[in-house]
């Protein structure tokens, strides 16, 4: 176990160094949510009062969903960096050392998660002047949920990168996953507004539960069962997908 920690730390530091060498990309991957914040959220103000969007509280409903969007899209494309490492033989070089196999992925996923949390905090701060009121404990707890979403999406991205080993099919695959998953989670507008068939479709989407849980946490409704539901579903998904990614890594050496 201590070797796993040791190796994971080495891999985390190595990947974090790479990221910090060109910090501009940390901000570039926040561009989409910030655009939504500045150019779309103002539209919601006048919609306040419809089901799921209480008047005067549209910001409080929108921001937790926006952070889920950041968690989904911000980490979905990390697989490209892995393809680079596969092509230059770096991953093979790691694999012939005694390094623990999960550490190779875990070090990357943790790096992505730390960057994601930094971005989430930054977006929350930027949203403050727009009238965001958030329960402090709820915000902290929700960060854990975003981290789990980050683990999930990063693992999906790495898993496909390890299978394809080239860039071309990776972007379409990831887009095919992220777009429906975000539309069906009520990030932009609450799904309560949707026709029944669309709501039903949303209910098979794990991230729908994440958005509902995040909104409950921001509002400080800690007795809401949706929070527990969200954590259980996303935790299970994160573990499942990470295992799948790990299998893809081990399959590279099959």
């Amino acid at each position: 176990m201590s070797k796993m920690l040791h190796d994971t730390r080495l891999m985390f530091v190595r990947n974090m160094q790479h990221t910090l060498r060109s910090p501009i990309f940390i901000f570039a991957s926040m561009f989409q949510p910030l655009l939504y914040l500045f150019l779309f959220m103002p539209l919601l103000n006048h919609l306040g009062g419809v089901p799921g969007l209480p008047a005067g509280k549209t910001v409080d409903v929108f921001i937790p969903g926006l952070l889920v969007m950041q968690a989904l899209f911000g980490t979905a494309f990390v697989g490209f960096s892995l393809i680079d490492d596969i092509r230059t033989g770096v991953i093979e070089r790691f694999l012939v050392t005694p390094v623990k196999r999960p550490a190779i992925l875990l070090g990357r996923v943790l790096r992505d998660t730390v960057i994601l949390l930094f971005q989430c905090i930054l977006i929350t701060l930027v949203a403050m002047p727009f009238g965001l009121s958030v329960n402090a404990g709820g915000l902290l707890l929700s960060l854990l949920l975003y981290a789990l979403i980050g683990v999930t999406m990063a693992s999906v991205s790495y898993g496909f990168a390890l299978i394809y080993k080239i860039e071309d099919p990776l972007a379409p695959t990831l887009n095919t996953i992220t777009l429906p998953v975000s539309l069906l989670s009520g990030i932009i507008l609450p799904l309560v507004l949707a026709p029944i068939w669309l709501q039903d479709l949303g209910k098979v989407n794990p991230f729908y539960y994440a958005v509902t849980a995040a909104r409950a946490m921001f509002a400080g409704n800690f007795q809401d069962i949706a929070i527990l539901e969200g954590f259980i579903i996303i935790s299970a998904l994160a573990i499942l997908v990470f295992e799948w990614g790990l299998r893809s890594l081990k399959k590279m050496a099959a």
Binding site: R21, T88, G89, A253
Partner: protein
């Protein structure tokens, strides 16, 4: 004396399964290879592109799971004791595997840490290799700026950082300029002098010939012959001598004259030249010339060549390795 075998394989096989249009397609990359590599030698694995060299090396370094057969590396079982093999074998792949976005030094330190060295020891070890491979002038630059030769030096240092007993090198000099190549050969010989066993795959005959103690020639997933370069070449037959004469008639007369000489294994006139193969061509030459002179068959030019590994390859496969190289 019991030989100390560092690599021992029996019937090592690898079949890749790929799906094409729903149909499973099997490709036999390695079709049952027996190898016995002794401690302290430089063992060459010579063959054309696609012969199965890299696949075999990847199996030996635990990167690929064999489909069948047995293998022991440093007496550890390849199927059961991968951890021990990884800890004690060094490996340099064809791609090299240096992290180009980092500096060479960062690469070396991390690699040492991956083998379990603490950070201080890792830094010390890295510095040792920087001095030994004369990388001081560039090691603190990003590896993306290195020349081919510099990068190769870093790749080999990365494979050696944990002082392995066995080093697997996959085509280490492919694409290198002659100077870097000579430098690398020198380093490999030094490693041998320190007792490291080297298993080196190559598609270059001169590399196998000059650098390796023993070689196995691989083609189409199978070892076709193995031995020391000298043994292999002497198996092909004797030295080749080509005489050129002023005319076809003279060449023909010379053929008739020399056909019955002892030690002449093969003789054939073609146009105005005469081609013959003989054991110990160097000793035979004066006698052949005297005989020709005695009959006034005037020789215009003589070409003399010892058999090369290409002749060995040609004998066993019917193809020339040089032709494959050109493709």
């Amino acid at each position: 004396m019991v030989e100390d075998l560092v690599i021992e394989t029996k019937g090592l096989r690898k079949t890749f399964v790929s799906k094409e249009k729903g149909k499973k397609k099997e490709v036999e990359a390695v079709k049952g290879i027996d190898l016995a590599v002794t401690r302290g030698e430089i063992f060459g694995f010579l063959g054309p592109n696609g012969a199965g060299k890299s696949t075999t090396q990847k199996m030996l370094s635990t990167l690929l799971c064999p489909t069948g057969g047995e293998a022991k590396v440093l007496r550890y079982d390849l199927a059961e004791q991968q951890e021990q093999i990884r800890q004690n074998v060094g490996c340099v792949s064809q791609a090299g595997g240096a992290d180009l976005a980092s500096t060479g030094l960062e690469n070396l330190v991390l690699q040492a840490q991956l083998y379990g060295l603490d950070v201080l020891t890792a830094k010390k070890r890295a510095t040792e290799f920087v001095e030994r491979f004369q990388m001081g002038s560039f090691i603190e630059r990003s590896a993306s700026s290195y020349s081919g030769g510099q990068k190769r030096r870093l790749d080999v240092a990365l494979g050696m950082i944990h002082h392995p007993q066995l080093l697997l090198l996959d085509e280490p000099t492919t694409g290198l300029d002659p100077q870097s190549r000579a430098y690398l050969w020198e380093e490999i010989r030094k490693l041998k002098a320190q007792g490291v066993t080297i298993f080196l795959s190559t598609q270059y005959m001169d590399e196998a010939d000059k650098l390796c103690d023993r070689i196995a020639i691989i083609d189409n997933g199978k070892v076709i012959v193995s031995g020391t370069p000298a043994e292999l070449k002497s198996n092909v037959g004797g030295d080749m001598i080509d005489f050129a004469f002023a005319s076809e008639e003279i060449a023909h007369d010379a053929e008739t004259l020399l056909t019955n000489k002892i030690d002449v294994e093969e003789i054939q006139a073609k146009g105005n030249s005469l081609h013959l193969r003989t054991k110990n061509g160097g000793n035979m030459m004066p006698e052949l010339l005297r005989s020709l002179d005695a009959k006034n068959l005037e020789v215009q030019t003589i070409m003399f060549s010892r058999p090369s590994l290409d002749d060995v390859f040609l004998k066993y496969t019917g193809r020339s390795l040089r032709e494959d190289e050109r493709k």
